[in-house]
Symmetry: C2
Subunit: 217 residues, 2 copies
């Protein structure tokens, strides 16, 4: 059994509600597979959307950046954010322009960001972020020094007010359009990870399985 | 020679300004290659970020949706938006947690959205959006009927206040870390388009080159 996050006015889907999903497992799966969050915040009535890496620890999302990072500093005074995660799965070609669409899995997460000040929790959060991008990487590379930790700001966002939206399948068609001599269907899209390229600096270290067998969950 | 968009307070990069680029050609190239814009807007001080398809016509970005679409309706009263386009090119693995990074090309576009009311311009904008996703598709599929046009809202956003940010190359390393026996380098990432899947409805139409040779610009 998966649990559902609460339905709020902001996360209720007005359009095509059948594509909506507030199950915790669906939401976590999209967040875990994606690599980039598009984080929206507001400064003087102007919205900004910045691509950021992130990590998830249970029901908490962690963002990080330099202590000089404008986005994280803005969140100190304007902490309302929206973090959106999008996995594009296919281009949906219909017989009409109108019914063209995309297959995707996305999550919209709303909330109030809060700076993490505790050094131990910062370390844990930064480990989450590294392991989110490359599972197991924290045990391979050098952990942050105290000086590096002081240069890094960490922000947490509870994963409480969120909804997933998923579209799958072929095009919807008007019955009359099925008489048209027009190809229709789906062009699948996926992220592919290429052959790892060693940087050629330092020692000739072996390539670990986390890299040679890299894959998203 | 390419032209640069004006530097504004909002598009000035404070962090790593050497990664910034306001050349029109760079900005257009990222917008043209990406498939999804993450569009941020504000309702009652809450930012929302919604993934949307789009089209570009010169220095104008077009968004569209159902006339019932909450995002497009919100823009009628809160027209300040930020549309962000991100192409992920690689995961950058350093010998330290701290220097992990990503290679990417992104554009942040700020502006004021405006509904397009003129039917001829709406038709043109919708054609731009279809051809953005699948170049040449407008000439293959059925154009919108008047009824379909009435169900569709189009919004335009001038591409004037924007900046691109690009990271390439391997990890930055602390000199002392080069003595560590840790693999470091780049895992390349790219979007791959799979074998087209016909929907099996209607006539057995030939697969056009726009589909069989599908590629981003």
């Amino acid at each position: 059994m998966t649990t559902e996050l609460p339905l709020t006015d902001a996360t209720r889907l007005r359009r095509k509600p059948e594509r909506g999903d507030r199950h915790r497992d669906t939401i976590h799966a999209v967040i875990d597979e994606a690599l980039v969050a598009h984080v929206g915040f507001v400064v003087d009535d102007q919205p900004f959307v910045i691509p950021m890496t992130y990590g998830r620890d249970g029901d908490v999302l962690y963002l990080h950046g330099s202590v000089a990072n404008r986005t994280l500093r803005a969140l100190d005074t304007s902490p309302r954010v929206c973090a959106t995660f999008t996995l594009l799965d296919g281009l949906v070609l219909a017989r009409s322009h109108f019914h063209h669409s995309m297959n995707y899995r996305s999550v919209v997460l709303l909330g109030t960001a809060r700076r993490v000040r505790d050094a131990a929790r910062c370390r844990r959060a930064l480990g989450c972020i590294v392991d989110h991008v490359v599972p197991g990487r924290t045990s391979e590379a050098r952990p942050p020094s105290d000086a590096e930790l002081r240069q890094t700001a960490v922000v947490e966002l509870p994963i409480e007010e969120a909804s997933a939206k998923v579209r799958t399948g072929g095009p919807v068609e008007e019955p009359a359009d099925l008489e048209l001599d027009v190809w229709a269907g789906v062009i699948p899209v996926r992220a592919v990870f290429g052959r790892p390229e060693a940087d050629g600096q330092g020692l000739d270290a072996a390539t670990p399985p986390s890299v040679t067998r890299y894959a998203r969950p």
